[in-house]
């Protein structure tokens, strides 16, 4: 890498570290069991032919080696705690520490899902409080906290739609999905037995209303809409969209992935949405954890409430909370137990810390940050849609491809400047997309560093294209061969002697 004035980083810290199996040596250990206060048993006698012969070849290592192994590995990860992580549609915001502390309180983290309701009033109160507040935030009437993630919430939401339509006599055949939608939307519709019909966007990036009018009929169960959509554009025709659907007996599903643009400023329930999911790991600050656990509550209007998964938490006249299983029209369960309760705790702690004014300010800052990035980078990068942006902005690599450089290359070069890349090549309606979502968590200083980096890379695309194409240069590993990984998959470690 040439000697650049890169303000944020010099190089990523890294020590070499093998697989944990490669540290193993017979007899090393990191545990000591308790004294047994009951007689030992003969496992062979207890289990007979069900006794395991050879032990699983798990590593034999000591405690310090475990600590060092996972500490070294951790330094190979970029994280929100290091800096801006502008993955569009992922809402990589700050994960407050108090959330982690309260989720680990023994009475919450140690609660068994089948302990009697009388001895679970605290956990049920957490769930009920969160449920009530999310209902208010969404402007809906009812909610389930059971879904484990966003896509799981989508599944639940479409199940609700189907159950409702069936109760009206006809589940219908198709779900309309805009071409800008997340891949989970069509995959979900298929899981609930619906055909997927593509709905085109208009030149401004919004739903093509004429197409919607033409495609909407009694065969269509509804529309799955992300609003703001994956272009970061709020579909201003939302009232009309809902009306077209409702007029022909269809339902409007909102993918709440981009709810960080709306909280405290507008409520989906007020603009005609019948059912929606939230991603607590996006909008409500529960940590992404390297890819989960998430949580995907589904909120709905009154007419869909009878179909919610069971159980739901209800409050008796005496203030006692209980789990209501007596829901004959319920779609059933989508998960064992009650959902990712640990995430419910964290999301509620976040809402408590914010209050109504904090949530509104959060949304305003998120939208302001995206627009600030947009105003500074427009022209340097191609802006395919001039329509105003909400919480994220989508550029294309059109101005850079003339030097043979694609969005993926720019993303890799951004790593050298100390940032996590934006979302690459999505949404697919934009060729060579750069999808940038700063979130509210970025200070002005960090945004300016990011903008400087993006500008500098744009210059490099013209002056030193090979530098960009070869990036990243500052990481422990250079670009990885994904084609080779897929051609001959190696999905587990094996000892060399085997």
């Amino acid at each position: 890498m040439s000697d650049k004035n890169i303000k944020k980083v010099s190089s990523h810290p890294s020590q070499n570290e093998g697989l944990i199996f490669e540290h193993s040596s017979p007899g090393k250990k990191a545990y000591r069991l308790r004294q047994l206060d009951v007689p030992t048993v003969d496992a062979a006698k207890e289990l007979g032919s069900a006794l395991r012969g050879e032990a699983a070849a798990l590593p034999e290592v000591s405690e310090i080696e475990i600590i060092r192994h996972f500490t070294r590995l951790s330094t190979w990860n970029y994280a929100v705690d290091y800096g801006m992580y502008p993955l569009g549609s992922c809402t990589m915001k700050y994960n407050p520490r108090v959330n982690e502390v309260v989720a680990r309180l023994e009475g919450l983290a140690g609660a068994h899902p089948y302990q009697p309701e009388a001895a679970a009033q605290g956990v049920l109160r957490v769930m009920k409080t969160l449920a009530d507040q999310l209902i208010e935030i969404c402007g809906m009437d009812a909610i389930t906290l059971q879904p484990a993630a966003g896509a799981h919430g989508e599944l639940t939401g479409i199940l609700l739609m189907r159950a409702y339509l069936e109760s009206k006599g006809n589940p219908r055949k198709k779900i309309l999905i805009p071409d800008s939608a997340h891949g989970t939307n069509p995959a979900t519709a298929a899981m609930v037995g619906y055909e997927v019909e593509n709905l085109p966007s208009d030149p401004s990036g919004m739903v093509d209303l004429a197409a919607l009018e033409a495609q909407m009929n009694e065969d269509v169960a509804g529309l799955m809409l992300t609003n703001p959509n994956t272009l970061g554009i709020f579909d201003a025709q939302i009232g009309k969209i809902a009306e077209i659907l409702h007029r022909k007996g269809g339902l409007l599903y909102m993918d709440g992935a981009n709810m960080n643009a709306l909280v405290g400023k507008a409520r989906p329930g007020d603009f005609g949405v019948d059912v929606m999911h939230l991603n607590l790991h996006k909008t409500f600050s529960t940590p992404h954890g390297g890819g989960g656990p998430g949580s995907g509550p589904v909120a709905c209007k009154k007419h869909l409430e009878p179909f919610l998964p069971k159980p739901i938490v209800v409050e008796g006249a005496n203030g006692q909370l209980r789990l209501d299983y007596d829901r004959p029209q319920s779609v059933g369960r989508v998960r064992a137990f009650f959902g990712n309760f640990g995430m419910h705790v964290r999301a509620l702690a976040y809402i408590m810390a914010n209050g109504p004014d904090g949530l509104r300010q959060t949304t305003e800052d998120a939208v302001m940050n995206a627009n600030y990035v947009r105003s500074k980078l427009a022209g340097i990068y191609d802006l395919p849609y001039a329509t105003p942006s909400m919480h994220e902005v989508v550029f294309s690599d059109k101005l850079q491809t003339k030097n043979g450089i694609k969005t993926g290359d720019i993303a890799k070069r951004l790593i050298d400047y100390g940032f996590h890349p934006y979302t690459v090549s999505f949404p697919m309606v934009v060729h060579g997309a750069l999808m940038i979502e700063p979130t509210e968590s970025e200070p002005l200083e960090e945004l300016d560093l990011f903008i400087d980096a993006m500008k500098s890379i744009a210059e490099e695309c013209a002056s030193e294209p090979e530098l960009v194409k070869g990036a990243p240069h500052s990481t422990r590993l250079s670009r990885l061969d994904e084609t080779a990984a897929a051609r001959k998959p190696i999905l587990r470690w094996k000892p060399e002697t085997k």
Binding site: D81, G290, N354, D365, D481
Partner: protein, 442 residues
């Protein structure tokens, strides 16, 4: 607001740069009629100390410190302290799905290790990076069997966790996948003769759980023979992962769906947990969820990437193997660390302790009540039929002894009468078991 890193002056400056006078102008795309012009009706901002207090109060309302003699899909095992110490590093919990492998090698290598450990434990050839939990994992495994065989029906053992079966029913309903159930015999195991009769040329798979919901270890090899003779696949769900420390892995299965909660994951009132699907190499193109694979960088150095993504929703959209996107990476990391702490020998010794506790518990509780399903091996759970009302016994144990007793089964298996499902782990004290035995026998 303390999480927002802007001063009023900075906001002014930024709005000026954007070219608007007020932030509300940025919300102009939202039609005025849909804009919220009031505060959300939620409580005002709370201080950190107030938040901690509020949750401490709630935590105190949950039978804190009670002895838990209950499993049923959620197991009370000790969590080594290094787990939370390590996963509290921001590099682990504030990162996302490793879409950019050069700056996500930590997460990727940890997943690769996890996949390896799951293969070792289950005797399968490949494992995915995790599913939401054991129940949804089982549902996905059943749908996977449908894709592999091209057949459209599934048979579930009634000894599979009742809530898992409910989840599978929800998933299968609109896949056009008829489900049927097969019962159990006197010893609590799948009724082999009935199973043999139930399998048809349309049967994609048979799902069993082992140890099953009653704690009984199924004769997996015998079931596999029956299932495979008719060209169906055998899917084995394992809810108590620790059993694999001492119980023979279900190597005869075609797909294993494991709930890994026992390995260092807090009970947390039912979640987050981590499911995982393991299978044979020949089925990898049909496996749902993320897979991590080994590769090399441009200099030939070993590294890891997410791979075989053409199975997944972001590429295949409505033709994907599943709609799953996010999995349970941080929970899988806990599981990885747990397996490192106990390792090859520790897992076995720990499982032996569970076996010993459960044997004692069965003897104690069985002294004055009837332990059901004799004649087949068990791990750490068992069913007790009582003379008295199971709910009443449970209430007395809680009120008078601070013990969370066995789960009454009448709701799920009315034919068993006053029966309840008990569990003893390494954390269960002899004293708690003796006290429970007293009440159960009353």
């Amino acid at each position: 607001m303390r999480y927002l890193p802007k001063s009023p002056a900075e906001r002014e400056l930024m709005l000026g740069e954007i070219g608007v006078a007020k932030v509300d102008e940025l919300f102009a795309p939202i039609p005025a009629e849909f804009r919220l012009t009031r505060d959300l009706a939620i409580p005002p901002q709370m201080a950190e100390s107030e938040i901690v207090d509020w949750f401490r109060e709630r935590a105190a309302e949950n039978a804190n410190g009670a002895s838990i003699l209950l499993g049923a899909g959620a197991y009370n095992h000790y969590r080594p302290l290094v787990i939370d110490s390590l996963i509290s590093r921001g590099e682990w919990f504030t990162a996302y799905t490793p879409y950019q492998p050069e700056i996500a090698q930590g997460t990727l290598q940890a997943i690769f290790e996890f996949q390896t450990m799951i293969c070792e434990l289950t005797g399968m050839e490949v494992a995915n990076a995790s599913m939401y939990d054991g129940s949804t994992g089982a549902a996905e495994a059943v749908m996977m069997a449908m894709r592999v065989t091209g057949r459209g029906e599934a048979i579930l053992a009634r000894t599979v966790h009742p809530e898992y079966r409910e989840v599978i029913a929800t998933y299968a309903k609109y896949q056009g996948m008829p489900l049927s159930e097969v019962g159990f015999t006197e010893n609590g195991r799948v009724d082999l003769a009935a199973l043999d009769k139930a399998i048809t040329p349309q049967t994609a798979c048979v799902l069993i759980q082992s140890p099953n919901f009653f704690g009984t270890i199924e004769d997996v090899a015998a079931i596999a023979d029956v299932v495979h003779a008719k060209g169906a696949l055998l899917v084995v769900s394992i809810a108590e992962a620790l059993s694999l420390g001492i119980v023979k892995p279900p190597v005869e299965a075609d797909i294993v769906s494991l709930e890994a909660q026992s390995f260092g994951v807090p009970l947390s009132y039912g979640g987050p947990y981590a499911g995982v699907i393991a299978t044979r190499e020949k089925f990898i193109r049909q496996i749902p969820g993320r897979l991590c694979g080994q590769t090399v960088d441009r200099n030939g150095k070993r590294g890891f990437v997410l791979t075989l993504s053409t199975r997944e929703q972001h590429i295949r959209r409505e033709k994907a193997t599943s709609n799953i996107c996010t999995n349970q990476a941080l929970v899988a990391l806990m599981v990885n660390i747990y397996m490192d702490v106990y390792g090859k020998n520790g897992l076995r010794e720990l499982a032996e302790q569970n076996l010993a506790k459960a044997a004692y518990a069965r003897k104690a509780l069985g002294a004055k009540s009837k332990v059901l399903f004799e004649g087949a091996p068990r791990f750490n759970e068992f069913v007790v039929q009582t003379k008295g009302n199971a709910e009443a016994i449970r209430k007395r144990l809680l009120d008078e002894h601070n013990i969370i007793g066995g789960l009454p089964l009448k709701k799920y298996y009315p034919e068993l009468g006053e029966a309840s499902l008990w569990c003893a782990t390494e954390l269960t004290s002899k004293a708690a078991l003796d006290a429970a035995a007293e009440e159960v026998g009353r």
